[in-house]
């Protein structure tokens, strides 16, 4: 009853492992599927590997989490291997998350990623941790977003493309429309919020080696729900609603706001890797109680 169709993909559950969480290796992503996710997203990768920022790079606070891993990743070649391996061992859809430092790199990485035949390619144009290196996220600029969407679509072939947006910039509804107009097949919203900073008052230093980090987890749920609501209002393509989903009611809020699938990341820390089963059970219970047959019946209902 929670089976979900995301474009042409059949998901046993609307829950999608969000990028950057346990998405480095085939084995680990396969394990997440075994725990109840309907699909997984790989860690975002670009052409060459990146060590990312030093530790502390991931630090919880009372109401969420700050991270500045700095898009560390083993690079194109390694990740493509892992995606291939995953597909040999597991038939739940896998989404390859990619990024680049230039238009050309976005194109090149997409092309190579496509060779490993992921079920979808997610384009991360909204990571807030890489300012210093890339300036403001591409996703804050409409022209950049348009260009990137076009070039990625050009190189992705028949593989559907989702653009991952952040909550900031000129308004997520506007940006989502730009993505749709330029051929995007789906929208993933949102990336982390902020960024934020935690200062240790005893050593009087920012805790993260990068000083600042994107905020995720329960603290950002309302901003994520609002973003999904905005996107749904502005585009027809499906949405992977992501951000702060920890309890079943959070996931249901996302669906009511308009999400087709639901990204789950930081909750793996709060609820353990069992969170996927807990959420599936909770969503199913809600549908039963209100005698719905599937999430399709309530998608976007908060707009009425």
């Amino acid at each position: 009853m929670i089976e979900t169709k995301l474009l042409d993909l059949d998901l046993k559950s609307p829950l999608v492992l969000a990028s950057g969480i346990l998405g480095l290796t085939a084995s680990s992503m396969k394990r997440v599927i075994e725990f109840g996710a309907g699909a997984v997203t790989s860690k975002s990768f670009n052409k060459d590997w990146r060590t990312g920022h030093k530790n502390p790079s991931i630090v919880p606070f009372e109401h969420g989490m700050l991270n500045a891993v700095g898009l560390s990743n083993p690079g194109l070649d390694e990740m493509i291997k892992e995606i291939r391996q995953y597909k040999e061992q597991c038939n739940a859809p896998i989404i390859a998350s990619i990024f680049g430092r230039s238009l050309d790199e976005f194109g090149e990485v997409t092309q190579r990623a496509a060779e490993s035949e992921p079920d979808m390619i997610e384009v991360n144009i909204s990571c807030p941790n890489v300012h210093s290196e890339f300036g403001q996220p591409f996703g804050d600029s409409c022209p950049d977003t348009a260009q990137i969407t076009q070039i990625v679509k050009k190189h992705a072939g028949k593989i559907p493309v989702s653009i991952k947006l952040g909550p900031h910039g000129p308004g997520i509804g506007v940006i989502a429309k730009v993505c749709e107009e330029n051929g995007a097949d789906a929208i993933t919203a949102i990336n982390t919020v902020g960024p934020g900073m935690i200062i240790d008052i005893d050593v009087k230093k920012p805790v993260l080696s990068n000083l600042t980090g994107g905020v995720s987890g329960p603290a950002i749920l309302p901003v994520a729900v609002k973003s999904v609501y905005e996107v749904y209002k502005n585009v027809k393509i499906p949405i992977i609603g992501t951000g702060g989903v920890t309890k079943p009611s959070d996931a249901i809020q996302m669906i009511l706001a308009g999400a087709t699938a639901i990204g789950v990341g930081t909750a793996v820390y709060y609820e353990g890797i069992e969170v996927f089963k807990k959420l599936n059970d909770g969503i199913e219970a809600y549908l039963k109680e209100n005698s719905y047959k599937s999430t399709d019946e309530i998608r976007g209902a908060a707009h009425e």
């Binding site: 290796t25 991931i58 240790d200 805790v207």
Partner: protein, 259 residues
């Protein structure tokens, strides 16, 4: 237990020998054998360290100088503040008639395990090896608590050679029914070659490059099972280790590449 960052002053430092030190912090949380903490040296980096003992109201970690981070720790003095997050990970079980095999700084987590086995009234024997004498930390404690065999590369303490040399004889002589291991991975590989045929159950305390320590970054996941060493480990049982397809092979670095 706290995963949020908090710094604590170093209460005491013990130097075991050149580049091998124990650091003590106020015991602000309960900790069990095998669990580890993330140590943050402000402005430098943060890395995982096994708790090596709980003494009175202090928790102890023991560090060997390897590269930049551990060398930085060597420069710290009593009163300096370090971030201590945790405890993280999954503990050792407590079995009777066990052999504790430790290599180098890997002896650290075995120290607190020995403490707990003793408190639980279990019988155990120790087999500790290192490059030189002073690297066999807590030697007297281990001897006090149980029969203890030593090996060093240079023969400066115990027998010259490796812990694996006399392993078979010790297993029979001491009627060993369970094995705990901690140390360099190459040691595990060799030990398994010996004990797997003998069908002895065991637990090893393993290491991988760790980022978050709280099970979300995926950096420490083991190929084969996808087990997160920082949550389901660092102590793994025989069955779990059997599933690991990368044992003794290249590990992932900070980027996630195998190096």
């Amino acid at each position: 237990m706290s995963d949020t960052m908090k710094t604590y002053p170093i209460r005491k430092i013990v130097e075991h020998g050149p580049g091998v030190k124990s650091f003590y912090f106020d015991k602000t949380f309960d900790v069990q054998a095998g669990e580890f903490v993330n140590i943050w040296s402000p402005g430098i980096d943060e890395k995982p360290y096994s708790v090596s003992a709980v003494v009175d109201d202090l928790i102890e970690i023991s560090v060997k100088a390897y590269g930049p981070f551990s060398k930085n720790l060597m420069t710290k003095s009593v009163g300096d503040r370090l971030g201590v997050r945790g405890p993280f990970g999954h503990r050792f079980s407590l079995q009777n008639n066990a052999l504790l095999i430790g290599g180098g700084i890997g002896i650290a987590p075995l120290r607190i395990l020995a403490q707990e086995l003793k408190a639980a009234g279990k019988r155990f024997v120790n087999l500790l090896g290192a490059a030189v004498e002073y690297e066999i930390i807590f030697a007297s404690d281990f001897e006090k608590w149980g029969k203890t065999y030593f090996t060093t590369d240079d023969g400066s303490k115990g027998k010259k050679g490796l812990v694996t040399d006399d392993l078979v004889t010790i297993l029979e002589k001491e009627k060993i029914e369970y094995i705990y291991g901690a140390g360099p991975e190459i040691m595990f590989v060799k030990v398994r070659e010996i004990i797997d045929p003998l069908n002895i159950p065991y637990e090893f305390c393993m290491e991988r490059y760790m980022k978050c320590g709280i099970g979300i970054c995926g950096q420490c996941c083991l190929d084969g099972s996808g087990i997160r060493l920082c949550v389901e480990g660092p102590v793994l049982k025989k069955e779990d280790i059997a599933k690991v397809t990368e044992l003794g092979m290249k590990h992932r670095d900070a980027s996630g590449r195998r190096v």
